[in-house]
Point group: C2
Chain length 331, copies 2
């Protein structure tokens, strides 16, 4: 294994140290609990939005903390849920009395620990609501999930929901839009390679030199099937033929498109994918109102990408434009 790390046991702590060192004015860290918070939390009168998941998906989740998006992110060890105790602690730190929304992706471990934290917080009189993103159309149940998985489409939900909360909406309204975004969002991805976790040091699954894993999960969970290597356009068409009819997205719809790299794929290839996605949507008379191309929710060094579509309404479109101050906004 070659990685730019020190001890595998320290990698998450050291990543968080680096993140906060790079963003000293906007972030703060509770190191022993691996919680990243916006520096000005709790924000008076504002509903707080908390997310959390295993690490290894950066920029998801810790790079979305900041004004206009996420109030606190609870980082687990690599590919392992954060503890209920950390989530509970984060909840107390961000709540200003207006309530807290947990906005997480559908994995069994995350759900269990956030649910436990919600009970603890509610017992202390903090209002907590939870929305579970499950945008991945690839498979119904999976290694770490009952029902559909939450993948990169959830980032669009963080963006829109975070903006709504920043504008001063009530907990009910913030929860409603988080659910609305999730209900209108669909994603699917594929992998060219496995990823390698620092602790294991070898690929988490085997994939032949001439194979793609179609519908792969964010931790290397199996997808729908293995295919032989295909052209970019062929594989994008398969993704789109799975995503578009699922909602369904229809002629006349306006959408946000996210082409998300899984970690090891060059930026060049994301745009080759986007090109075909755009052509496919044009053919179906679906209008792209907003495009996101880059790495948003990765699986360490996995090569591959996913496509997410979100059917937009006017409120979502406006909230996507709301300014944010997060580590990922660099220039």
């Amino acid at each position: 294994m070659k990685k730019i790390i020190n001890r595998p046991d320290d990698v998450v702590y050291e990543m968080l140290d680096g993140l906060v060192a790079a963003n000293p004015n906007t972030l703060k860290l509770v190191r022993e609990k691996k919680i990243v918070l916006r520096a000005d939390a709790p924000v008076k009168g504002k509903v707080a939005v908390i997310t959390g998941s295993g690490s290894g998906h950066e920029p998801d989740q810790v790079c979305y903390v900041g004004r206009g998006m996420i109030d606190a992110a609870c980082a687990g060890e690599v590919f392992a849920a954060p503890t209920a105790d950390a989530v509970y602690e984060a909840t107390k730190m961000v709540d200003s009395g207006a309530g807290v929304l947990y906005l997480i992706k559908n994995y069994t471990g995350d759900r269990a620990n956030f649910s436990m934290a919600a009970e603890l917080a509610q017992a202390e009189g903090i209002r907590v609501e939870t929305v579970i993103a499950n945008d991945d159309v690839a498979v119904k149940d999976s290694k770490f999930t009952a029902g559909r998985r939450g993948v990169a489409g959830a980032i669009l939900d963080y963006k829109i929901t975070g903006a709504k909360a920043e504008q001063g909406a009530s907990l009910d309204a913030v929860k409603e839009i988080a659910e609305r975004v999730n209900a209108n969002c669909r994603s699917m991805g594929f992998a060219l390679t496995s990823c390698t976790t620092p602790a294991k040091g070898s690929p988490t699954f085997d994939l032949g030199a001439d194979e793609f894993e179609l519908g792969v999960g964010l931790h290397g969970e199996p997808g729908r099937r293995r295919t032989k290597v295909m052209l970019a356009d062929e594989i994008v068409d398969i993704l789109m033929d799975s995503i578009v009819p699922d909602l369904p997205f229809k002629s006349g719809d306006e959408v946000a498109v996210m082409v998300n790299g899984l970690g090891g794929t060059p930026t060049m290839e994301f745009y080759v994918v986007f090109r075909r996605v755009a052509a496919f949507l044009k053919q179906h008379d679906i209008r792209i109102a907003k495009a996101y191309v880059g790495e948003f929710c990765t699986s360490l060094d996995m090569a591959g990408c996913s496509v997410s579509l979100l059917k937009l309404d006017e409120e979502m479109k406006s909230l996507l434009e709301f300014p944010v101050d997060i580590p990922l906004r660099i220039f």
Copy 2:
């Protein structure tokens, strides 16, 4: 080879198609010449800034085109200089009469073709000046370079110089700050793996399973030496011990820091690197005024990263904050 492409010969064209499809309001494309321009070019009364290089380094260079940064980027084939003809064409398209600055990195092919374009443009009465970025301290001469190579530090030069031009500065003033940034910027990187070009389909150089290439070039050019795998902190210290004395950066200086991923490295690891860079600078009483952590100038799918330091003055600090509207600014 597994890549998300169609025909290798089409990959640059299709990338550019995708880039412009994702940014239809801010970019335009001269496809047959592989020129990406800001949609409103030429901008009346403004000095235009053009860059260009081989493709495969995305987001450098095409994702920096837009208001506040680069007016036109001339993309070559993968790792091959753009043609003089394309640069000449771009020059005519962006010049509004205020003159054009070529801001490129130090590679022999790029220099030759931009120089030829400058002669053609000057023969038509267009004022053209050229600044060559050469921030890489790793080696003096290299496979494609006489003198030092230009690497990721050049992106900070695009940012500052582009802002100066946007503010309406004269060609002389724009050239002066481009030179000033380059003179105060130093970089060095290392690779964990080779990259694989679409045309060749196999790694461009061999690197043992237990080796790092220290001081690697952006096309896999040899660096200073091969080392056995090291801890992140050890390798960062070697980079910093090469970069800091070279300017030298001194106690009391204010700097911008860029930790740049070369393509195949997970975001998690960039922050582990940044953490050690920050600790090193603190120990040397050098203050970080601005941090850039992510992928800015890559080598396709190469695993590895580089560190750049730029010694700042008040004008540079202010210009780094000037707003941009470029594909890389996503949220």
